[in-house]
Amino acid sequence: MRILLVEDDAEVGRFVKKGLQEAGHTVEHVPNGREGLFMAAGENFDLLVLDRMLPGGIDGVRLVETLRGQGNHTPVLFLSALAGVDERVKGLKAGGDDYLVKPFAFAELLARVEALGRRPAVDAPATRLKIADLELDLLSRTVTRGGKRIDVQPREFRLLEHLMRHAGQVVTRTMLLEKVWDYHFDPQTNVIDVHVSRLRQKLDKGFEKPLIHTVRNAGYMIRAEP
C-alpha cells in the first residue's frame, strides 16, 4: 500500500514509517498539515495516517475536511494524543475512518492500517463468507464447518463475521471491542479473550485444523493455513 504519514513528532514518525515499511508498505512522511494536504490532494495514496494536532495552521481535522470537500475519499486513520470520547467523535465526524490514541502498540496501528487499506471500496453485498471449510451464511445467520452446522450466539456470529471479513489480517482486541461490542473504552480485563476462546472451541471442536489463530502481542487472525 502507498501510505501518507503526516506526523510532526520526528521520533514517532520515524518509528511508524520504519514499521510500516517493514510490513511491506510504501510510506511518504511529511511533518506538517500544509505539506500533508498538498501531498494528499496531489498524489494517490491508499491510506492517510494523520496526527490530529499538527503545526502549520492546518491540523488533522481541517486536512480531512478539506480533502472530503474536494471529493477525495482516501481512508484516513487519526493518530492522536487527544483521548477524550468527544475528541474521537470529532475526528470521525470530520471524515476520519478510524481513531487511534497515543501511545499505541505498533501492532495495533498496523492491524488498523491493514484493515482500513484493504477495505473493499464498495461493500459488495456478499451473502456468504468462506474460509477453508468454514462457511458463514449472512442471510440465514448460520455457521457450518465441513457441512456440519455449528450453533453460535448472535454476538459470536458477529465476532466471527468480523474476523472473516478481515481474513488473513490481524484483528486486535480493541478493534473487536469497538467493532463487535461498540465499546470505546478499555475493559481492563481480558473479556475479549474469553469470548474468542469460546468461539474457537465451538469452531475447532472435532476438527484437526484450527482456524482462529492468536497473534502474539497483537490479537487474532482467521486463516486457512496454520
Binding site: 483521548a83 477524550g84 470520547v85 468527544d86 490514541v101 501511545p103 502498540a105 454476538r155 461490542w181 461498540d182 465499546y183 470505546h184 473504552f185 478499555d186 475493559p187 481492563q188 480485563t189 481480558n190 473479556v191 474469553v194 469470548h195 469460546r198 502481542n217
Partner: protein, 488 residues
C-alpha cells in the same frame, strides 16, 4: 533587572537635574467621585429623576388648572367688553364708544385695562393706548405683548376688532397675575428639584452604605479566596433575599471549584502514587536487563515486560484523565434519552463469558424497559467496571447478580457479588481514588474503577451506596453496589 542609572558627577553639573523618577501616583478617586460612579447613585438618580418628572407633570396640571383658567377668564372678560363696546358703536357711534371707554378707564383704579378706538385712517379717537400693535393683521384678533405703562413694562393680552367702517377697537388687560403665578410655580419646582437632587445624593449614599453592608460577606469571602484559601464560604443570614441567593450561588460555585481542585490534586496524587510505581518498576527492569543480561531471550523478555509496564502506566493515566473529564461535567453534552436494558444486556453478555470461565454464575434481572436520560458510553463503562470488580472478587462457584428496577423517579441498579465484602470503614473510603481494601491487594487493578463509577453517578445526579452482599461463606459475605439514577 538593571540597577537604576546614577548620574555621574561630572556630567550632572551644568545640566538640568536628572529626570525625577516619575512617581506613578495611584489615583485615588475622591469619595464624591466614588459616590457618583456607584450603581447605588445611579439608582438614586433614577428615582430623583422620576420624582422630578412626576413633579413636573403635577406642576403642568396645576399650571393648566390655575394660570390657564385665569387666562381663559381674562380672555372671556376682554371679549365680552369688546363685544359690548362694538355693539354700542353700532347703536350710537364713535362718540358714545369714546365716552364709554373714558368711563371705563376712569373707574380702573388698578390701572389694568387698555383701550383704543381708532378712526378708519388710523387716528386715535379714544383710549389709553397709543396705537394698534405694529404687526397688526386683520385676520388675527388676539395679541400677547409687553405693555409699557409710563415706561414700566408688563404683560398684557389684547383683543382687536375691526369695525364695519374700517375703524378699529382694541381691548386689553394686564396679565401680571398670571406671570406672578408662573414665577411662583417655577420657583416651587426649582426648590423641589433641588430637594430631589439632595435626596438623590442622600439616598445614594444610604443605599450605597446599605448595599455595601449587605455585600460585605460576599466580597470578604471573595477576597479571602483570592488570597489563596479556598475554604471560606459566604456566611448566610437565613434571609430569603437576592443577597442570600448571591451568597448561596457563590458557595455552590466555590464547592464546585474546590471539588475540581481536589480532582486536579487527585490527578497529581495519582501520578505520584500509582504511576511512579510501574514507571519505577519498568525502569529498574530495563536497567537490570541492560547491565546484566547477555542472553538475547532474557533481554527480550525484560523489554516485553517493560512495555507491558508502560501500557499499564498508560491505562492508569487514561483512567485518571477520564475521571477528571467526567468530574468536570464536560460530558453532560452527550446526554440523550436511552433505554438502560440493552446496555445492561451488553455488559452482562460481555462479562458473562468471563464469569462462566471462572465457574461463576451471572444472574440478571430487569424489566422490559428502563428509560433514562444519560450518557450511554459512561453508563456502560460504569456497569462494566462494577461487573469487572464483581467477577474479580467473587469466589469460584459463586453467584453474581446484576439487577435493575424502576422506582418512582429513579432507576436502581444493583451489582451483588460473593466476594470478601467491605468493612464499614472501607465502605466509607471506597471511591477515594486508588483506595483498595486490604483484602483486594492481591487482585490486579488500579483502584480507579469505583472512582469512575462514582463520578459517572454524580454526573447523572444519582447516588452510589453499598449494601451487604449475598455471600453464604463466612469469609465471603459479599458486597452489593447500588446505583440510583434519576430518570429525568
Amino acid at each position: 533587572m538593571a540597577p537604576p542609572p546614577h548620574p555621574r558627577p561630572g556630567h550632572a553639573a551644568g545640566r538640568p537635574p536628572p529626570h525625577p523618577v516619575r512617581r506613578r501616583v495611584q489615583q485615588h478617586p475622591g469619595p464624591l467621585w466614588r459616590l457618583l460612579s456607584s450603581t447605588s447613585f445611579r439608582i438614586a438618580l433614577l428615582f430623583a429623576t422620576l420624582f422630578l418628572l412626576a413633579g413636573l407633570a403635577f406642576t403642568g396640571v396645576l399650571w393648566w388648572g390655575t394660570a390657564g383658567t385665569l387666562e381663559r377668564q381674562i380672555d372671556a372678560a376682554i371679549r365680552a367688553d369688546a363685544l359690548a363696546l362694538a355693539e354700542r358703536w353700532r347703536e350710537a357711534g364713535d362718540d358714545a364708544v369714546a365716552e364709554a371707554i373714558s368711563e371705563r378707564l376712569a373707574l380702573d383704579a388698578e390701572d389694568q385695562t387698555a383701550y383704543l378706538l381708532t378712526a378708519p385712517d388710523g387716528r386715535r379717537l379714544a383710549g389709553n393706548l397709543e396705537q394698534l400693535p405694529e404687526d397688526y393683521r386683520t385676520d388675527i384678533q388676539w395679541y400677547a405683548m409687553t405693555l409699557l405703562r409710563d415706561g414700566i413694562p408688563g404683560e398684557a393680552r389684547l383683543y382687536v376688532v375691526q369695525l364695519p367702517d374700517g375703524s378699529h377697537l382694541a381691548v386689553g388687560r394686564d396679565v401680571g397675575e398670571k406671570l406672578r403665578l408662573r414665577a411662583l410655580l417655577t420657583e416651587g419646582l426649582a426648590w423641589s428639584a433641588g430637594v430631589a437632587i439632595l435626596f438623590a445624593f442622600a439616598g445614594a449614599w444610604l443605599l450605597r452604605r446599605w448595599l455595601e453592608e449587605r455585600l460585605i460577606p460576599a466580597t470578604a469571602t471573595a477576597a479571602l479566596i483570592a488570597g489563596g484559601d479556598l475554604s471560606p464560604r459566604v456566611p448566610l443570614a437565613g434571609r430569603d433575599d437576592e443577597f442570600e441567593a448571591l451568597g448561596r450561588s457563590m458557595n455552590t460555585m466555590l464547592d464546585r471549584i474546590a471539588h475540581l481542585m481536589e480532582g486536579v490534586r487527585g490527578v497529581s496524587d495519582a501520578i505520584a502514587h500509582d504511576l511512579r510505581t510501574p514507571i519505577a518498576r519498568a525502569r529498574s527492569r530495563l536497567e537490570e536487563a541492560l547491565e546484566t543480561s547477555d542472553d538475547p531471550a532474557a533481554l527480550k523478555g525484560a523489554l516485553e515486560r517493560g512495555i507491558a509496564d508502560l501500557d499499564n502506566v498508560t491505562r492508569v493515566f487514561q483512567a485518571v484523565l477520564r475521571i477528571a473529564e467526567v468530574e468536570a461535567g464536560a460530558r453532560r453534552a452527550a446526554f440523550a434519552p436511552l433505554d438502560l436494558v440493552p446496555l445492561l444486556a451488553d455488559a452482562a453478555e460481555l462479562y458473562g463469558a468471563t464469569a462462566e470461565e471462572n465457574g461463576q454464575t451471572l444472574r440478571t434481572e430487569w424489566p422490559k424497559s428502563l428509560p433514562l436520560t444519560g450518557d450511554r458510553d459512561l453508563l456502560l463503562q460504569a456497569i462494566a467496571n462494577l461487573l469487572d470488580n464483581a467477577v474479580k472478587f467473587t469466589v469460584p462457584g459463586g453467584t453474581i447478580t446484576l439487577s435493575a428496577e424502576m422506582q418512582e423517579d429513579a432507576v436502581l441498579i444493583r451489582v451483588a457479588d460473593e466476594g470478601p465484602g467491605l468493612s464499614a470503614e472501607d465502605r466509607q473510603r471506597v471511591g477515594e481514588r486508588f483506595f483498595r481494601a486490604d483484602s483486594a491487594r492481591a487482585t490486579p487493578g488500579s483502584g480507579l474503577g469505583i472512582s469512575l463509577v462514582r463520578a459517572v453517578v454524580q454526573l447523572h445526579g444519582g447516588m452510589l451506596w453499598f449494601e451487604d452482599g449475598q455471600g453464604t461463606q463466612p469469609d465471603y459475605p459479599g458486597l452489593t453496589v447500588c446505583l440510583g439514577l434519576p430518570v429525568a
